[in-house]
């Protein structure tokens, strides 16, 4: 999967969910939700302030969409090890 496709995937997910649940949910709920929204080819993750749901393994295609929505900065991340 290309980086652009991965970015489109994250943006489409955010369009569907909106951004405010990220502000209003505790980090563990965000991590659980993103884990549920992941699939065999794409893993979704996030960094909420100092807390990270997980890190991408090396060798994967990776994108990060930074949402600096006040007061908490959230970065929604996605990675894929599916080769083109």
């Amino acid at each position: 999967m290309l980086q652009e496709e991965l970015r489109d995937y994250v943006l489409a997910y955010l369009q569907q969910k909106g951004v405010f649940w990220l502000l209003q949910s505790p980090p563990e709920s965000i991590c659980s939700e993103l884990s549920r929204a992941s699939n065999a080819s794409v893993t979704l993750s996030a960094t909420i302030g100092p807390r990270s749901c997980g890190s991408p393994p090396s060798g994967t295609v990776y994108v990060a969409v930074n949402l600096n929505v006040i007061p908490e900065e959230v970065t929604v991340e996605a990675w894929s090890d599916t080769l083109e």
């Binding site: 652009e4 943006l11 955010l14 569907q16 909106g18 405010f20 502000l23 209003q24 600096n68 929505v69």
Partner: protein, 235 residues
């Protein structure tokens, strides 16, 4: 038919995301503004209009800049496609409507692409501002009339209390119908002419805002006099 290049498409996608984040920040700032103080019912509309008009947010990513500025909208039921801001996207009749002006500018020098876009979007907060102002000012008016037209002659708290209690009960009924909490405080100044100074406090509580539940509070004072003025001759 014109189709966007990959580079243009990528900038456009980024602009949409940044506009969404900018709009989200405007909504959070608007919530902060609304809950920041106790508003005067008579000036809340103008002050909130003015202060909303000064809200803006600036988002940057690489060579892309997205400026989002706000002003109060006209209201009404309007659908808006800015789904990143759900459930606050679009406008709902009776809610506080905010119009967002989005200006995005960017370029990709490697691909020789420049990008410029201006869009307007509508968002809302479930704050019933105009209804709250109307109820508050009407509460001041009816309380003034009730006190002024009362047949009480003694200027004591025990004679004024039943009037204010009845007024308070009537106001609470109206306010509850509209989803507000209301309180009526008063003091009595005696003499041949009796003055009752009072204050109406109104709140909309439990508003589900972008950064969690909040409330908006407003107050308005009033004064009413009954009984003959001391200087007037008695018939």
């Amino acid at each position: 038919m014109y189709s966007m290049s990959d580079s243009e498409s990528s900038i456009s996608d980024s602009a949409i995301a940044l506009a969404g984040v900018g709009g989200a920040n405007i909504l959070v700032k608007e919530q902060n503004l609304l809950e920041s103080q106790v508003w005067s019912c008579s000036t809340a509309s103008q002050k909130i209009t003015d202060e909303t008009g000064s809200l803006s947010d600036d988002q940057r990513e690489g060579n892309l800049t997205v400026l989002v500025s706000a002003r109060l909208g006209d209201g009404g039921n309007v659908v808006d496609n800015m789904s990143l801001l759900a459930p606050f996207n679009g406008s709902i009749s009776g809610d506080l409507s905010i119009s967002l002006q989005v200006i995005a500018r960017g370029s990709d020098s490697l691909a020789g692409v420049s990008f410029s876009k201006h869009e307007d979007h509508l968002v809302h907060l479930p704050v019933h501002l105009q209804s709250a102002i109307t109820d508050c000012l009407e509460a001041v008016r009816t309380t003034t009339v009730r006190v002024s037209e009362s047949s009480v002659t003694n200027c004591t708290d025990s004679t004024v209390y039943p009037i204010m209690r009845a007024s308070s009960a009537a106001l609470a009924s109206t306010a509850q119908r509209d989803g507000f909490q209301i309180a009526l405080d008063y003091s009595v100044k005696g003499g041949a002419s009796c003055t009752v100074d009072f204050e109406v406090s109104l709140a909309q509580v439990g508003i589900q805002g972008p950064s969690g539940p909040f409330l908006i509070r407003m107050q308005e004072g009033g004064s009413a006099t009954f009984g003959p003025p001391a200087s007037e001759p008695q018939e």
